[in-house]
């Protein structure tokens, strides 16, 4: 779908606006999800430069692999990616993936879309849906074989490795794989 000229201009101006915001602020808000030690490098063996407790509001400066560099009121350092919740959690944010993703990469104009006028996929649409053989056939046409998948991976330099399964954390008491105790979906 090619945007019309005014829309294209709008996108450009949004993009420029966003770019200006990034260069002036270069940080996105976040909240610590657990008590954490801030480290001087993105590594569990790096020296500790400070500590912050769960619930502390932080500014996320950048991301490197599984680590985020954050700034609190009193210190600056690296914490694990999953120790922070990006965004402002309820009050709306300029965050998006500015820092988590885009800050270190080039921007893609197609990411900047106007939210106005976009109608979401709602429950009613799903309930009323009529089976579409035509779209299902189209889906079939694009299915890849295992060898095509392997070939894609090898071209990209991806090597399969034997990563062990993650254990269920102790804190969660029930699993969906056991007898389920979930309530019947409300309707």
């Amino acid at each position: 779908m090619k945007p019309t000229l005014p829309l294209r201009m709008l996108r450009t101006s949004i993009l420029l606006g966003a770019a200006l915001t990034w260069s002036s602020a270069q940080a996105a808000p976040g909240t610590l999800l657990r008590d954490e030690s801030l480290r001087t490098q993105p590594s569990a063996t790096a020296a500790v430069s400070g500590r912050a407790s769960r619930g502390t509001g932080v500014n996320i400066i950048t991301r490197q692999g599984g680590w985020l560099q954050i700034q609190t009121a009193s210190s600056k350092g690296w914490v694990r990616l999953l120790s922070v919740r990006a965004g402002q959690g309820g009050s709306g944010g300029a965050g998006l993936s500015d820092v988590v993703g885009v800050a270190t990469r080039r921007s893609d104009p197609s990411r900047v879309v106007s939210v106005a006028g976009v109608r979401g996929l709602n429950e009613e649409d799903l309930k009323q849906a009529q089976f579409s053989q035509q779209e299902l056939d189209r889906l079939d046409n694009f299915a890849a074989t295992q060898s095509q998948g392997r070939s894609h991976a090898s071209k990209a330099g991806l090597v399969a490795s034997n990563v062990p399964s993650l254990p269920r954390p102790q804190s969660s008491s029930n699993s969906s794989s056991g007898p389920s105790n979930s309530s019947w979906p409300e309707n």
């Binding site: 922070v84 944010g93 939210v115 709602n122 799903l126 694009f142 998948g149 894609h152 269920r168 699993s175």
Partner: protein
């Protein structure tokens, strides 16, 4: 349908309330046996007897799914195809052939790490700005164009697809269907209304793609996060793809209507981040996967 669900919920409450004193499975099994002996005794003496027996057997097999959750890979695919076709009736695929080809290549490679090589995997991108992803039994995985736009690398795509693949390999939707089909099977056994396999599948699934709007229990979502992140890591991707996408979603404006269905059917992102963080700890520290930020297909 509303009435049916209401009956379903009342029935479940009452069954659990008198658990031990009442065996639903036994009741249905008896009904099944009665059905079978009835159809055998009423078979005509001509050549159509075999067809009749087969029909009756098929129906019994479908009922067995409802009763005991027994199903073959073929059943799984048939159920998934019906759900996928219904979903595609609500929202079609994007008209970007290159994107559809690309997502299938990445998806197939990630799915190859799941151990379910018996499934014909299908990956689709849905033409909606809503931010979400879906899966159906039998290897059907969908990501919306809206969510795709939020991705920064192929490793993030692999993480999202990994999460959906995990719902399929861990049979999360089949478990939901088993619960509802138990009730449907009871109705069918009593009324003998269902005339064909397809109709039984349809009855079990319900109308449209409403199962997609119902969502799974929270533990199933946390499990899919853990399993999906590992599938992507096994495929050689940077293991932080899925966590990065969860962060992106967490940072979206809270009342963004593009995420209303996602947040209705999934736990809040901060809880998912926290639970996944508990599970990963330092376990991914030594992994050296590829992010492939330049390989991500740019949408037309």
């Amino acid at each position: 349908m509303k009435l049916k669900l209401l009956i379903a919920s009342i029935s479940l409450v009452s069954f659990s309330g008198i658990a031990g004193g009442f065996d639903l499975g036994k009741l249905l099994e008896d009904q099944l046996r009665k059905n079978r002996s009835h159809s055998e005794s009423t078979q005509p003496a001509d050549g159509s007897a075999d067809t009749q027996t087969n029909k009756s057997r098929n129906k019994d097999e479908a009922l067995a799914f409802g009763l005991f959750g027994k199903y073959s890979t073929q059943d799984e695919i048939r159920i998934g195809k019906q759900i996928a076709g219904n979903l595609l009736g609500a929202v079609p695929l994007v008209r970007d052939d290159g994107l559809l080809r690309y997502v299938n290549l990445v998806g197939n490679w990630v799915a190859a790490q799941s151990g379910r090589t018996d499934l014909p995997w299908h990956f689709g991108v849905l033409a909606t700005e809503d931010i979400n992803a879906f899966s159906a039994p039998g290897g059907y995985v969908f990501i919306t164009q809206g969510l795709y736009r939020q991705l920064n690398s192929e490793s993030e795509l692999a993480g999202v697809l990994g999460h959906e693949i995990a719902h399929i390999t861990n049979k999360h939707y089949l478990k939901v269907l088993k619960k509802s089909s138990l009730i449907n099977a009871l109705g069918q056994a009593a009324s003998k209304k269902a005339k064909s396999d397809d109709q039984i599948v349809q009855n079990v699934i319900g109308n449209g793609a409403e199962i997609m709007a119902r969502g799974l229990d929270k533990e199933a979502e946390y499990e899919a996060d853990r399993v999906g992140a590992v599938f992507a890591a096994r495929a050689g991707y940077d293991p932080w793809g899925l966590p990065a996408v969860l962060q992106t979603i967490a940072a979206l404006p809270p009342r963004d209507e593009r995420t209303s269905l996602l947040f209705k059917t999934h736990p809040q992102p901060e809880v998912r981040l926290s639970k996944l963080g508990d599970a990963i700890g330092d376990r991914f520290d030594r992994l050296k996967g590829k992010e492939l930020d330049n390989s991500l297909y740019r949408m037309r």
